[in-house]
Amino acid sequence: MDPSSSAALVELVRRAQRGDEAAQRELILAYQHRVAGFVFAMTNRSDVVEDLCQQIFIKMIRAVDRLQAPAQFESWLFRLARNTCIDQLRRQRLRRIFLPFADEHENIPEPPGAVDSEELDALRHALAQLRPQDRALLALVQEGRSHAEISEILGTSVAAVKARLHRAREQLREHYQP
Protein backbone atom coordinates (compact mmCIF):
# COMPACT_ATOMS: atom_id res chain seq x y z
CA MET A 1 0.00 0.00 0.00
CA ASP A 2 1.25 3.46 -0.86
CA PRO A 3 0.74 5.66 2.20
CA SER A 4 1.51 8.78 0.17
CA SER A 5 -2.08 8.69 -1.07
CA SER A 6 -4.22 10.13 1.68
CA ALA A 7 -7.04 7.57 1.35
CA ALA A 8 -4.53 4.71 1.57
CA LEU A 9 -2.85 6.35 4.54
CA VAL A 10 -6.17 6.77 6.39
CA GLU A 11 -7.00 3.11 5.79
CA LEU A 12 -3.53 2.05 6.96
CA VAL A 13 -3.84 4.16 10.11
CA ARG A 14 -7.31 2.72 10.83
CA ARG A 15 -5.90 -0.80 10.56
CA ALA A 16 -3.02 0.15 12.86
CA GLN A 17 -5.56 1.59 15.32
CA ARG A 18 -7.31 -1.78 15.40
CA GLY A 19 -3.99 -3.34 16.43
CA ASP A 20 -3.08 -4.82 13.02
CA GLU A 21 0.65 -5.47 13.36
CA ALA A 22 1.21 -5.62 9.59
CA ALA A 23 -0.25 -2.12 9.27
CA GLN A 24 1.90 -0.88 12.15
CA ARG A 25 4.98 -2.34 10.47
CA GLU A 26 3.99 -0.69 7.18
CA LEU A 27 3.67 2.68 8.90
CA ILE A 28 7.11 2.28 10.49
CA LEU A 29 8.63 1.31 7.13
CA ALA A 30 6.94 4.24 5.38
CA TYR A 31 8.07 6.86 7.89
CA GLN A 32 11.29 5.55 9.48
CA HIS A 33 13.65 7.46 7.16
CA ARG A 34 11.72 10.70 7.35
CA VAL A 35 11.50 10.51 11.13
CA ALA A 36 15.23 9.64 11.31
CA GLY A 37 16.03 12.73 9.21
CA PHE A 38 13.91 14.88 11.48
CA VAL A 39 15.60 13.45 14.61
CA PHE A 40 19.08 13.96 13.12
CA ALA A 41 18.26 17.57 12.24
CA MET A 42 16.93 18.17 15.75
CA THR A 43 19.66 16.48 17.81
CA ASN A 44 22.63 16.73 15.41
CA ARG A 45 23.87 13.38 16.80
CA SER A 46 23.85 10.17 14.82
CA ASP A 47 24.37 7.98 17.93
CA VAL A 48 20.92 8.82 19.32
CA VAL A 49 18.95 8.62 16.06
CA GLU A 50 17.96 4.95 16.26
CA ASP A 51 17.18 5.10 19.97
CA LEU A 52 14.96 8.15 19.59
CA CYS A 53 13.28 6.77 16.47
CA GLN A 54 12.48 3.61 18.41
CA GLN A 55 10.96 5.67 21.25
CA ILE A 56 8.91 7.69 18.77
CA PHE A 57 7.51 4.65 16.96
CA ILE A 58 6.75 2.82 20.23
CA LYS A 59 4.81 5.89 21.35
CA MET A 60 3.09 5.88 17.96
CA ILE A 61 2.00 2.24 18.33
CA ARG A 62 0.74 2.75 21.87
CA ALA A 63 -1.11 5.98 21.20
CA VAL A 64 -2.36 5.59 17.62
CA ASP A 65 -5.74 4.27 18.80
CA ARG A 66 -6.34 7.62 20.52
CA LEU A 67 -5.78 9.58 17.28
CA GLN A 68 -9.19 11.06 16.43
CA ALA A 69 -8.49 12.08 12.84
CA PRO A 70 -6.45 9.46 10.93
CA ALA A 71 -6.03 11.95 8.06
CA GLN A 72 -3.83 14.03 10.36
CA PHE A 73 -1.54 11.12 11.12
CA GLU A 74 1.60 12.73 9.64
CA SER A 75 1.23 15.96 11.64
CA TRP A 76 0.54 13.90 14.75
CA LEU A 77 3.59 11.67 14.16
CA PHE A 78 5.90 14.65 13.67
CA ARG A 79 4.47 16.29 16.81
CA LEU A 80 5.38 13.09 18.68
CA ALA A 81 8.85 13.20 17.12
CA ARG A 82 9.36 16.85 17.97
CA ASN A 83 8.25 16.40 21.60
CA THR A 84 10.46 13.33 22.03
CA CYS A 85 13.48 15.21 20.66
CA ILE A 86 12.81 18.25 22.85
CA ASP A 87 12.56 15.93 25.91
CA GLN A 88 15.87 14.31 24.93
CA LEU A 89 17.56 17.71 24.57
CA ARG A 90 16.18 18.77 27.98
CA ARG A 91 17.48 15.56 29.59
CA GLN A 92 20.86 16.14 27.93
CA ARG A 93 20.97 19.67 29.37
CA LEU A 94 20.02 18.44 32.86
CA ARG A 95 22.67 15.72 32.65
CA ARG A 96 25.24 18.39 31.88
CA ILE A 97 24.20 20.26 35.04
CA PHE A 98 24.24 17.28 37.38
CA LEU A 99 27.09 15.17 35.98
CA PRO A 100 30.64 16.47 35.96
CA PHE A 101 31.12 15.68 32.26
CA ALA A 102 33.15 18.03 30.19
CA ASP A 103 32.19 19.08 26.68
CA GLU A 104 34.64 16.63 25.13
CA HIS A 105 32.80 13.75 26.83
CA GLU A 106 29.42 14.93 25.66
CA ASN A 107 30.34 15.84 22.10
CA ILE A 108 31.98 12.64 20.96
CA PRO A 109 33.22 13.08 17.38
CA GLU A 110 31.35 11.21 14.67
CA PRO A 111 33.08 8.02 13.50
CA PRO A 112 34.78 8.25 10.08
CA GLY A 113 32.37 7.84 7.24
CA ALA A 114 29.39 9.02 9.27
CA VAL A 115 29.80 12.55 7.96
CA ASP A 116 30.46 12.15 4.30
CA SER A 117 30.35 15.56 2.71
CA GLU A 118 31.21 19.18 3.23
CA GLU A 119 27.61 20.11 2.43
CA LEU A 120 26.30 17.88 5.20
CA ASP A 121 28.98 19.07 7.60
CA ALA A 122 28.08 22.68 6.84
CA LEU A 123 24.37 22.04 7.30
CA ARG A 124 24.95 20.26 10.63
CA HIS A 125 27.18 23.10 11.79
CA ALA A 126 24.59 25.68 10.77
CA LEU A 127 21.74 23.74 12.43
CA ALA A 128 23.79 23.44 15.64
CA GLN A 129 23.86 27.24 15.88
CA LEU A 130 20.05 27.42 15.87
CA ARG A 131 17.64 26.97 18.78
CA PRO A 132 15.97 23.52 18.93
CA GLN A 133 12.59 25.14 18.20
CA ASP A 134 13.98 26.70 15.02
CA ARG A 135 15.63 23.43 14.00
CA ALA A 136 12.24 21.72 14.44
CA LEU A 137 10.61 24.39 12.30
CA LEU A 138 13.09 23.99 9.43
CA ALA A 139 12.98 20.20 9.62
CA LEU A 140 9.16 20.24 9.53
CA VAL A 141 9.24 22.44 6.42
CA GLN A 142 11.68 20.00 4.84
CA GLU A 143 9.17 17.26 5.63
CA GLY A 144 6.63 19.10 3.52
CA ARG A 145 4.40 20.24 6.37
CA SER A 146 2.28 23.28 5.56
CA HIS A 147 2.37 26.43 7.67
CA ALA A 148 -1.06 25.53 9.08
CA GLU A 149 0.12 22.05 10.05
CA ILE A 150 3.30 23.42 11.63
CA SER A 151 1.29 25.94 13.61
CA GLU A 152 -0.83 23.05 14.90
CA ILE A 153 2.23 20.94 15.75
CA LEU A 154 3.95 23.80 17.57
CA GLY A 155 0.78 25.17 19.16
CA THR A 156 1.19 28.64 17.71
CA SER A 157 -0.36 30.84 15.03
CA VAL A 158 0.35 30.66 11.29
CA ALA A 159 1.64 34.24 11.35
CA ALA A 160 4.09 33.35 14.13
CA VAL A 161 5.23 30.30 12.17
CA LYS A 162 5.90 32.45 9.10
CA ALA A 163 7.84 35.03 11.09
CA ARG A 164 9.89 32.42 12.94
CA LEU A 165 10.54 30.50 9.74
CA HIS A 166 11.81 33.64 8.04
CA ARG A 167 14.19 34.31 10.94
CA ALA A 168 15.31 30.67 11.12
CA ARG A 169 16.09 30.58 7.38
CA GLU A 170 18.07 33.80 7.65
CA GLN A 171 20.08 32.38 10.53
CA LEU A 172 20.67 29.12 8.68
CA ARG A 173 21.85 31.03 5.62
CA GLU A 174 24.15 33.11 7.82
CA HIS A 175 25.80 30.06 9.38
CA TYR A 176 25.80 27.78 6.33
CA GLN A 177 29.33 27.91 4.94
CA PRO A 178 30.34 24.87 2.87
Partner: protein, 125 residues
Amino acid sequence: MNTNPEQDAWSRLRAHAAARLDGGFADRVLQSAHGCPAPAWDRLRAAAADCLRPGFPDRVLAAARERFEIPSYGSQLALSALTAAACLAAVILFHHHELAAADARNLAEWSQIVAAAQDLDAGAR
Protein backbone atom coordinates in the same frame (compact mmCIF):
# COMPACT_ATOMS: atom_id res chain seq x y z
CA MET B 1 6.89 32.19 -36.88
CA ASN B 2 5.35 35.09 -34.98
CA THR B 3 4.10 37.91 -37.18
CA ASN B 4 2.56 39.98 -34.41
CA PRO B 5 5.08 42.79 -33.69
CA GLU B 6 3.84 43.24 -30.11
CA GLN B 7 4.13 39.53 -29.36
CA ASP B 8 7.55 39.55 -30.98
CA ALA B 9 8.67 42.40 -28.75
CA TRP B 10 7.48 40.52 -25.65
CA SER B 11 9.40 37.43 -26.74
CA ARG B 12 12.56 39.48 -27.24
CA LEU B 13 12.08 41.08 -23.81
CA ARG B 14 11.67 37.67 -22.19
CA ALA B 15 14.75 36.33 -23.97
CA HIS B 16 16.77 39.37 -22.96
CA ALA B 17 15.63 39.07 -19.32
CA ALA B 18 16.30 35.33 -19.27
CA ALA B 19 19.83 35.94 -20.56
CA ARG B 20 20.48 38.07 -17.42
CA LEU B 21 20.02 34.98 -15.23
CA ASP B 22 23.05 32.76 -15.06
CA GLY B 23 23.07 28.96 -14.83
CA GLY B 24 23.01 28.72 -11.03
CA PHE B 25 19.95 30.95 -10.65
CA ALA B 26 17.53 28.18 -9.67
CA ASP B 27 19.96 26.79 -7.07
CA ARG B 28 20.51 30.24 -5.60
CA VAL B 29 16.76 30.84 -5.32
CA LEU B 30 16.28 27.48 -3.63
CA GLN B 31 19.17 28.13 -1.25
CA SER B 32 17.72 31.50 -0.43
CA ALA B 33 14.30 29.98 0.18
CA HIS B 34 15.50 27.06 2.29
CA GLY B 35 18.53 28.60 4.00
CA CYS B 36 20.88 26.07 2.40
CA PRO B 37 20.97 23.99 -0.82
CA ALA B 38 18.40 21.21 -1.08
CA PRO B 39 21.10 18.50 -1.63
CA ALA B 40 22.46 19.25 1.85
CA TRP B 41 19.07 18.33 3.34
CA ASP B 42 19.00 15.22 1.13
CA ARG B 43 22.41 14.20 2.46
CA LEU B 44 21.25 14.80 6.02
CA ARG B 45 18.23 12.57 5.46
CA ALA B 46 20.42 9.90 3.86
CA ALA B 47 22.91 10.03 6.75
CA ALA B 48 20.04 9.74 9.23
CA ALA B 49 18.56 6.78 7.35
CA ASP B 50 21.96 5.05 7.56
CA CYS B 51 21.77 5.32 11.36
CA LEU B 52 18.88 2.83 11.44
CA ARG B 53 20.21 -0.72 11.47
CA PRO B 54 18.43 -3.36 9.34
CA GLY B 55 15.41 -4.88 11.08
CA PHE B 56 14.43 -1.61 12.73
CA PRO B 57 10.63 -2.14 12.38
CA ASP B 58 10.89 -5.61 13.94
CA ARG B 59 12.82 -4.26 16.91
CA VAL B 60 10.24 -1.50 17.43
CA LEU B 61 7.32 -3.94 17.26
CA ALA B 62 9.05 -6.35 19.66
CA ALA B 63 9.77 -3.53 22.12
CA ALA B 64 6.19 -2.27 21.86
CA ARG B 65 4.88 -5.82 22.46
CA GLU B 66 6.95 -6.17 25.63
CA ARG B 67 4.92 -3.30 27.05
CA PHE B 68 7.98 -2.22 28.92
CA GLU B 69 7.32 1.24 30.13
CA ILE B 70 9.29 3.60 32.31
CA PRO B 71 6.97 4.30 35.27
CA SER B 72 5.46 7.76 35.16
CA TYR B 73 5.84 10.23 38.03
CA GLY B 74 2.17 9.72 38.85
CA SER B 75 2.50 5.96 39.15
CA GLN B 76 5.71 6.35 41.20
CA LEU B 77 3.92 8.77 43.51
CA ALA B 78 0.97 6.38 43.84
CA LEU B 79 3.33 3.50 44.67
CA SER B 80 5.09 5.63 47.32
CA ALA B 81 1.74 6.62 48.83
CA LEU B 82 0.61 2.99 48.84
CA THR B 83 3.85 1.87 50.52
CA ALA B 84 3.57 4.63 53.14
CA ALA B 85 -0.08 3.67 53.83
CA ALA B 86 0.86 -0.01 54.17
CA CYS B 87 3.69 0.85 56.60
CA LEU B 88 1.36 3.08 58.65
CA ALA B 89 -1.27 0.33 58.78
CA ALA B 90 1.39 -2.18 59.91
CA VAL B 91 2.61 0.20 62.64
CA ILE B 92 -0.96 0.86 63.87
CA LEU B 93 -1.75 -2.88 63.87
CA PHE B 94 1.45 -3.69 65.73
CA HIS B 95 0.83 -0.89 68.22
CA HIS B 96 -2.76 -2.06 68.77
CA HIS B 97 -1.56 -5.65 69.26
CA GLU B 98 1.13 -4.56 71.73
CA LEU B 99 -1.39 -2.39 73.64
CA ALA B 100 -3.85 -5.30 73.91
CA ALA B 101 -1.06 -7.61 75.12
CA ALA B 102 0.08 -5.06 77.71
CA ASP B 103 -3.53 -4.64 78.91
CA ALA B 104 -3.91 -8.41 79.24
CA ARG B 105 -0.61 -8.62 81.16
CA ASN B 106 -1.58 -5.76 83.47
CA LEU B 107 -5.02 -7.26 84.10
CA ALA B 108 -3.44 -10.63 84.91
CA GLU B 109 -1.00 -8.96 87.32
CA TRP B 110 -3.85 -7.00 88.95
CA SER B 111 -5.84 -10.21 89.28
CA GLN B 112 -2.87 -11.82 91.01
CA ILE B 113 -2.48 -8.83 93.32
CA VAL B 114 -6.20 -8.85 94.11
CA ALA B 115 -6.07 -12.58 94.78
CA ALA B 116 -3.00 -12.11 97.01
CA ALA B 117 -4.69 -9.22 98.85
CA GLN B 118 -7.82 -11.33 99.39
CA ASP B 119 -5.67 -14.17 100.72
CA LEU B 120 -3.92 -11.79 103.09
CA ASP B 121 -7.29 -10.36 104.25
CA ALA B 122 -8.63 -13.86 104.83
CA GLY B 123 -5.48 -14.82 106.79
CA ALA B 124 -5.68 -11.71 108.96
CA ARG B 125 -9.27 -12.47 109.90
